[in-house]
């Protein structure tokens, strides 16, 4: 039963491992892109400028109300067209095709970004007003205030929320298998089709996802402990 997972040309072990690496890679880059998007749109949501708030609210409402699969189809079928359109404005007239990894990262990153926006907005809101005032009193502004005083506190509060976003993002990457990116989902489909053993390969895929989830939970817990030093004394709660 397990010979199908042997490494080398006869088995699918190495292919499944590469698929797992691809899943981790595309999830991590999507999460990273999502956090960048989240920081920008959280700033928009918290700004005094009405139009920025409208843009940010429209973005999060659309992403949270529309199936992820539709967003992926939009970028898969329309992504290259959009890039070529922008390139044309800058004077480049050639054909550009985005690969499945780039499209997948952008699509899942855009979805992940909507969740990160809410997490970061909540975290910024929960930083005490006195911190902003104290920073300003000390003569800090711009990077000094936001980069050195507010950001470290936001990061600490946002970490558990980002952990949840990571779980969602990891699961959403399974959807980009429909665009042909060979990650766990796609690889197990290929292997299942080729060996006529769908049960074994989908079970293997389930286990691989659970292992990634478990390992990343441990990492996030460690990070939370590190960043909450001096805030939470164990045994009190």
């Amino acid at each position: 039963m397990f010979e199908v997972f042997s490494f080398g040309a006869s088995g699918w072990g190495d292919e499944m491992l590469m698929g797992t690496l691809m899943t981790v890679l595309v999830s991590a880059s999507s999460l990273f892109l999502g956090i960048l998007i989240g920081i920008i749109f959280a700033a928009c949501k918290l700004s005094n400028i009405f139009i920025l708030r409208i843009i940010a609210n429209t973005y999060t409402t659309i992403i949270r109300g529309i199936p992820e699969l539709l967003v992926i189809y939009l970028l898969f079928f329309g992504g290259s067209g959009a890039v070529m359109y922008i390139a044309k404005i800058f004077g480049y007239d050639g054909y550009i095709e985005l690969n499945a990894f780039t499209i997948g990262t952008i699509a899942v990153g855009a979805i992940s970004g909507a969740y990160s926006t809410e997490v970061i907005r909540g975290a910024v809101n929960s930083v005490h007003k006195g911190q902003f005032e104290a920073g300003k009193t000390l003569g800090l502004n711009g990077y000094g205030l936001y980069g050195k005083v507010i950001f470290p506190q936001v990061a600490r509060i946002a970490l558990p929320g980002i952990g949840n976003v990571w779980q969602i993002t990891l699961k959403d990457t399974a959807l980009i298998s429909v665009t042909g990116l060979v990650e766990i989902m796609r690889q197990s489909r290929i292997a299942a089709g080729s060996t006529h053993e769908p049960f074994i390969f989908y079970t293997a895929a389930i286990i691989l996802y659970l292992v990634i989830t478990r390992l990343s939970n441990i990492l996030f817990d460690k990070a939370e402990n590190t960043y909450s030093k001096g805030f939470v004394s164990k045994g009190v709660l």
């Binding site: 199936p67 298998s177 996802y209």
Partner: protein, 227 residues
């Protein structure tokens, strides 16, 4: 922007709405029943009940829905004893596989919502109900359950929206609901932006109606004061 195409495809895509709503409502009702059972198992205090329930929720929440769908639709059909069993007429239909998968998925997610709702019921209510001479079952049905429904409603509203979104995945196993039809039109016309706007708006409207309905129900049920 090709407005004529958007107009034409709108009438094609709305034909998928009944299937989406059908699958979502059947699996929501079945899933809610499953969720109540799983939630009660988790808070039962008996290890033989709570541990399987915990791992069931962990398994479903830790894996992508698409994988669960493939597992039910392709994976189970591999075995001849399943193909020969009385369940096969159900398991060979993508429609029922979609409903089974969505039921299991929402059952796991909602069980956590319900568990939170039950645990949020103040002990005072339970004690008061005991003092009034109600037995355990009556306390659960008359006191705990109504309060749980009210407490769990906002989170359950989110779960309903997630269900509408999740139902789009059944298009991958050949079911022609909103996303399935949208995808077919995109590959025929190569107009992803236009079709995305049409299909996306339909989903937004469905979800907006859910948000309004849940908000109405929340106001109707009032608030629960814990003390």
């Amino acid at each position: 922007m090709r407005f004529e195409l958007m107009y034409e495809s709108f009438f094609k895509i709305i034909e998928g709405i009944p299937l989406t709503l059908q699958v979502v409502s059947i699996s929501t009702v079945l899933g809610l029943a499953l969720a109540i059972i799983v939630a009660l198992m988790r808070i039962s205090g008996k290890k033989s009940m709570s541990i399987p329930a915990y791992y069931f929720v962990y398994l479903i929440r830790g894996t992508p829905l698409l994988l669960q769908l493939y597992f039910v639709y392709y994976g189970l059909g591999q075995f001849s004893f399943i193909r020969e069993s009385i369940l096969w007429p159900i398991l060979k239909e993508p429609y029922w596989c979609g409903i089974i998968t969505l039921t299991i998925s929402t059952g796991a997610y909602s069980s956590e919502i319900i568990r939170g709702g039950i645990l949020s019921v103040s002990k005072n209510f339970i004690e008061a109900s005991g003092a009034l001479g109600l037995n355990k079952i009556k306390t659960f049905l008359l006191i705990t359950l109504p309060i749980t429904v009210r407490q769990a409603l906002p989170a359950y509203g989110n779960e309903l929206i997630l269900m509408v979104k999740a139902s789009s995945l059944i298009s991958i196993i050949t079911l022609m609901e909103i996303t399935g039809i949208a995808r077919t039109i995109i590959s025929k016309t190569y107009a992803p932006v236009e079709i995305f706007l049409v299909a996306g708006s339909i989903y937004l409207i469905i979800n907006f109606i859910i948000v309004l309905a849940v908000g109405l129900a929340e106001r109707k049920l009032g608030t629960v004061k814990a003390n």
